[in-house]
Point group: C2
Chain length 346, copies 2
């Protein structure tokens, strides 16, 4: 039995308490300063307020001021903060974790650097650790997994990535169950990039749903020809962005494809894509979804910015990314939706 | 203006009359001996009995005995027969087409040879033409396109494949419209294999829907984690089967991915997958869907048979195709559904 400490009581981090605890580990769920009410509710009901099932018996709940206590003796820390908590996690949590501990993060996202490179969060945190002279084993989880379906014990396959094969195998042993299946990849940047990319591309696919609602009426049957055409194009562009043809490990690409599939059907990215497709501007869509965080939009804009910089340097051609460029134009230049279908044909 | 003759008044062939006629060509739709009532209905109403929209004005309809007349002076023949009509098309129609004519087929399928090779229909017909000493320019269409959505003018992207680049470009010029977009590929076997493969894999994805209905109740929300996991695995296995890592033209693979996406949502393959997932045997599922042709099942079995032969010769490993092998076991060995989730992880 190991001790596994989850920091951040959002849905995804909290959902991992299920396989962790069902495998007999001691599981400690620590809320951030934003999760105070969630932790109170978990203590009272043994259920996360957004879940439809109780936690397995025995999960322990901690408020943030008990973080040190919750981290004591743990073998694995699961980072469960959203992308808005990345800096906080790096500055507040990482320094408090014992040397040599494994840290598996569910946070998805990318930063774009002025030179056109994309930096994933494990890479960002590694830079912070290097400055601190501290050694932790950073890892991340990608792949198609919505938290509520994991809680329902839907069969799920994800991919853990880390530069340490040994850590990957240990984390898989700790967390795999008969419904939670884990691929392993040492290509951290690849998996994290694929997983981040899928958000912008899911938006692109959802555009077609809104366009068809606008054209054929809101209750018209779903138009899968259009969706599938954009899905195929999204897969092409992800493959190019990942440089998959040059890789021997194609796990990142296939993780991205599966993740793209689930993202088209789940939640907020789909909603905003449909609204844009119906003809709303991004500002109107944001207003309509007031209060909903749209991390996916940020990633698409960042990736597009990086690709434009690379194209200026002649390292790639913007004509290889017509879907990404169009999504970016909609988001940053307030252009109307006008999917460049012919640009998709080869 | 060109003359385009469509032989076979099934849904897909007939749907191509829309872009063809809207581009101003003379379009002649010829029924097979099975299509007699369809042609009668088209003549009376200018609408295919299975479509919800009239043909564009001016499409001409022919019964089979008028085939020679319908073929006279045509620049392009579109082959619109089902896979059950492949031999008939090769033996009856091809010899009647004028030397040098382009023939674009919508028929999807593969034959497996005793040596483990897969033979697509254009290859099969080319053998027949070689025996006849006749030259036609064979081409095929693949990609995500359901006929009823094409008729509705949903935005659609397909891929035409042929060994003749010049013919490809001419066919694109003849048929492309502002809603029918056409990629071109000279990898005929690749495109046709990808398009055939997607059927067996769509069945695999649909299994998860039935499994979850069985487990969580028929009205439970769709479980996209499972679907996406199998989708990602299906993409992996298609990539391997196509030898995509060794190809420079990845169009076949991406056409297959888009086609897989649309096939999961459309029609009969999905239905049989769901029934199998709920626990019916293949015989029970067939009985339930009495009268429905299930070409997709045939392809999956043929591909699996070819892969087993190749594996026996040491050319590939069955462990690279756990999903295909499981689908084959369900179909040919009447095994119960038991998706090998762990075999998907790498």
């Amino acid at each position: 039995m190991a001790v596994i400490t989850i920091v951040g009581a959002g849905m995804m981090g909290s959902a991992l308490a299920f396989p962790a605890r069902e495998n007999g580990h001691e599981v400690r769920l620590v809320g951030t300063h934003l999760d105070r009410d969630i932790i109170d509710a978990c203590r009272q009901t043994n259920r996360h307020p957004k879940f439809t099932a109780d936690f397995p018996a025995g999960v322990r709940f901690y408020q943030l001021e008990q973080l040190e206590q919750a981290l004591e003796g743990c073998e694995l820390v699961i980072g469960g903060v959203s992308s808005f908590g990345v800096d906080w996690f790096g500055e507040y949590v990482l320094p408090r974790i014992a040397e040599g501990t494994m840290v598996l993060t569910v946070t998805k996202g990318l930063l774009d650097l002025p030179d056109g490179r994309l930096l994933c969060y494990p890479e960002l945190w590694q830079q912070q650790l290097d400055r601190l002279g501290k050694r932790l084993i950073l890892a991340a989880v990608g792949g198609p997994c919505t938290s509520y379906e994991l809680v329902a014990h839907d069969q799920t396959e994800v991919c853990f990535c880390s530069h340490s094969r040994r850590a990957l195998e240990r984390m898989k042993a700790l967390l795999q169950t008969d419904y939670y299946h884990i691929s392993l990849s040492e290509d951290v940047a690849g998996v994290e990039t694929a997983v981040a990319l899928k958000n912008g591309y899911a938006l692109g696919i959802a555009l077609t749903i809104g366009v068809n609602q606008q054209r054929f009426g809101p209750d018209s049957e779903l138009h899968y020809n259009s969706q599938a055409a954009v899905f195929g194009q999204a897969a092409r562009e992800m493959y190019r962005l990942l440089g998959a043809q040059r890789q021997t490990d194609l796990n990142p690409f296939f993780v991205g494809v599966g993740d793209l599939y689930v993202t088209v059907y789940g939640g907020r990215t789909r909603l905003v894509g449909i609204l844009l497709g119906r003809g709303l501007t991004i500002d109107e869509a944001r207003a309509r979804l007031e209060g909903v965080t749209l991390e996916s939009l940020v990633v698409a804009v960042r990736v597009a910015r990086a690709v434009r910089i690379r194209a200026e340097r002649g390292e790639c051609s913007l004509s290889d990314f017509p879907l990404l460029m169009h999504v970016d134009e909609i988001l940053t230049r307030r252009q109307p939706v006008n999917i460049p279908w012919e640009a998709f044909t080869l």
